[in-house]
């Protein structure tokens, strides 16, 4: 019994760990993740570089020409601009240098880092430590900005030239926050947000690193948290702290994939499933009541898949059976009853006594067709044909933050798949084809987009879409519609 319980615990941890990014993910202070020629790149302290084809499986990349601390990166035209900080002697004397390359692909003939010069610095006396740059292109004003700084003094804001990436010579540093580091501005719906890391780094599982946020109507602040405290007085609403098997998140970076799908990158000071190593992660970015919220990548498990539009749930198109079996309506009050009833009809509102167990899918699935079964949407009634098991596939690739999943009727091998006509069907068993692999992206409102890895005979990316109240299909994703938004609920 004890051995079995231990095995179950190990399996549970394995499943959790299997959903962390794959491959080589050790890095400290990662930059914003950037895409170049279809690959994802991030750069960290000490010249670290990680590269990925899909945002799920990562590998070591090539160290750029300048090593330093907590770089950040942005693309300006055909220049990939990497801002790298280094202390000059002891902190807080430091400088942030810009280097740029036309490509990040080290195999390309265009791969060559050029030195552009110092963008910001601190002389060791002033109230700032010029490290941890965070670069931001304002989508409204189209101006380029950089924030920088750490616990020595203030977080500062300077304007950069949006074409060259160099410092605007007329821009004087502006203090906008304190008692934090690894700051990074983002914009959403009329507000500028300053994400910054509070707490302590570099102590493994004893690191108190956490990411906090304030917001302002102007890039220059003031950045207030949700209680009205200015970040220049140490304010900040918690965005992400330690949890589960990871400790000390820090160094927020925005990864906007378009179509209403936003993710963020960070590192954890200690991943307890990786010996306490500092590792990269990518997670959904949500928005609630005007504040960014850290989402979570989908975990394996059994869920109800409910349309956010219709409120109906995905199910096999088979006849359902009420949980606990059918009974007649309207039999209530005194009257002739069955054997042992003493001549009384059972009161239908009083229940049957005891616990009615969940449906045994092994029993009910014998009534289902053996070959392909269609799917539809229906009122959720906790029935076996409405419960879906999500299983992560660790050898089928992934997408930023997550692996592909197979989706089966819980307790069976019956697998959800896309058809060549852009419709949905369930197959009797999983055979591993890309049309049976599912990408789960959490949208900014917390609902989910569900997309097959591939649809036979089309290259168009399609997503699961409610059509009508009881039907479901695959259609091109429309971020402005709720047809392709799904709730993944505990069944």
């Amino acid at each position: 019994m004890k051995l079995l319980a231990l095995t179950e615990v190990i399996l549970a941890f394995t499943a959790w760990h299997a959903l962390a990014l794959e491959g080589q993910v050790q890095i400290h202070d990662p930059s914003t993740i950037i895409q170049c020629d279809g690959k994802y790149y991030t750069f960290g302290t000490g010249g670290a570089c990680l590269v990925s084809d899909d945002g799920w499986t990562w590998a070591r990349g090539v160290t750029p020409a300048r090593r330093g601390m907590a770089p950040d990166i942005i693309q300006l035209g055909d220049h990939y601009c990497l801002y790298v900080a280094a202390n000059i002697g002891a902190q807080p004397k430091a400088a942030i240098n810009l280097i740029w390359s036309r490509t990040l692909d080290s195999n390309s003939p265009d791969y060559k880092w050029e030195e552009a010069g110092v963008v910001a610095s601190s002389d060791g006396i002033e109230d700032c430590n010029a490290i941890d740059p965070g670069v931001f292109l304002d989508p409204v004003e189209k101006k380029l900005w950089m924030v920088y700084g750490s616990y020595f003094g203030f977080i500062r804001l300077v304007q950069l030239d949006s074409k060259t990436g160099m410092r605007d010579p007329a821009s004087q540093p502006l203090n906008i926050a304190i008692n934090c580091e690894a700051s990074d501005p983002i914009y959403n719906d009329g507000w500028y947000y300053l994400l910054a890391t509070h707490g302590s780094c570099c102590r493994g599982a004893d690191s108190g690193y956490n990411i906090r946020v304030g917001r302002a109507r102007s890039i220059s602040g003031p950045y207030l948290d949700h209680t009205g405290i200015d970040m220049i007085q140490g304010g900040g609403k918690l965005f992400l702290g330690s949890g589960g098997r990871v400790i000390g998140p820090g160094h927020f970076g925005l990864l906007d994939l378009g179509d209403g799908v936003q993710k963020f990158s960070c590192h954890y000071e200690a991943d307890l499933d990786r010996g306490g190593a500092s590792v990269l992660d990518i997670r959904p970015l949500l928005w609630k009541d005007g504040w960014p919220v850290a989402g979570e990548n989908l975990k394996e498990g059994t869920y109800e898949i409910e349309s956010a539009r219709t409120g109906t749930a995905l199910e096999l198109a088979v006849e359902g059976m009420p949980v606990g079996g059918r009974r007649n309506r309207g039999n209530f009050g005194a009257g002739p009853g069955g054997p042992g009833s003493g001549g009384q009809r059972p009161n239908p509102f009083s229940g049957r006594g005891g616990v009615i167990p969940p449906q045994d899918v092994a029993q009910f699935s014998t009534n289902w067709p053996a070959d392909n079964i269609l799917v539809r949407l229906a009122n959720y009634l906790c029935q076996a044909q409405q419960k879906w098991a999500f299983s992560a596939l660790t050898n089928a690739g992934g997408y930023p933050g997550s692996p592909y999943f197979k989706i089966t009727i819980a307790g069976t091998e019956r697998t959800l798949a896309a058809t060549k006509d852009g419709e949905l069907v369930t197959l009797p068993a999983f055979t591993g084809g890309p049309e049976q692999l599912w990408r789960m992206d959490q949208l900014t409102d917390g609902t989910w987009r569900i997309m097959p890895k591939a649809v036979p005979k089309t290259k168009e990316p399609l997503a699961m879409s409610a059509i009508g109240a009881s039907s479901v299909t695959l259609a091109r994703f429309n971020p402005d519609s709720d047809k392709q938004r799904w709730l993944i609920k505990i069944p």
Binding site: D421, E423, I467, A469, S470, A475
Partner: protein, 229 residues
Amino acid sequence: MGLIHQLVIPLALVAGSAVFAFADENASRYPAPSLTRPDSAEKAPNAAGFIQRWLILEPISCNGLTDSAVQAAVKAEYFPNQFSVVPRDGEAVTVGSTNLTWHAVDTKEYNVNLYHFAHSLGKPSSFVLFWALTVVNCSEELPGVSLAIGSNAASVWWVNGQEVLGIYGDRQTVIDDGVSRRLTLKKGQNIVRCAVINGGGATDFCARFLDPDEKPLKKFTVSVGEVAR
């Protein structure tokens, strides 16, 4: 009853297409407020794409709204060629020992109120099956369209003889409740046929086509053939 009979028949004849009412001395005398007799050869869908012209058979006794009960009910043979026939208004079939008549109707609304239809004929509307069909006329082939329906309660739908959609259980009519997989309407005539099964209470259905962008399709007309005078 005799006096009412004498009044109703002339009124019905005078009103012409204004009121759908069955002039039979054994029938109830309730006019169907939402239904009229067709007065043109073809009818376009309404502004929202709903089909408003149908041939409907007087109801057949039927019970059961589950998937299996409905499928069994609609697959049973009630009269010859029931999946291919395109009847005429006023044509009768024999189901069991009962003569049932096809009626051409236009609805003023987006839906066809079968409760009105049945009661205007003095027929039951609960625990019955209604067969209905219409002819969809297209001036060109229309691929990638979907049939979108709602019904109270369950219903099964065919387009050109192929079953394309079914919704089951005791439910109210919801616009676009069920939507078929994408299909092609051919140039010329297409037959849309349905069987609507009701439990107790109200009963109706609605139907339209959606184009490949899921917008209401309006590039067609419907007809039901000649309407008996």
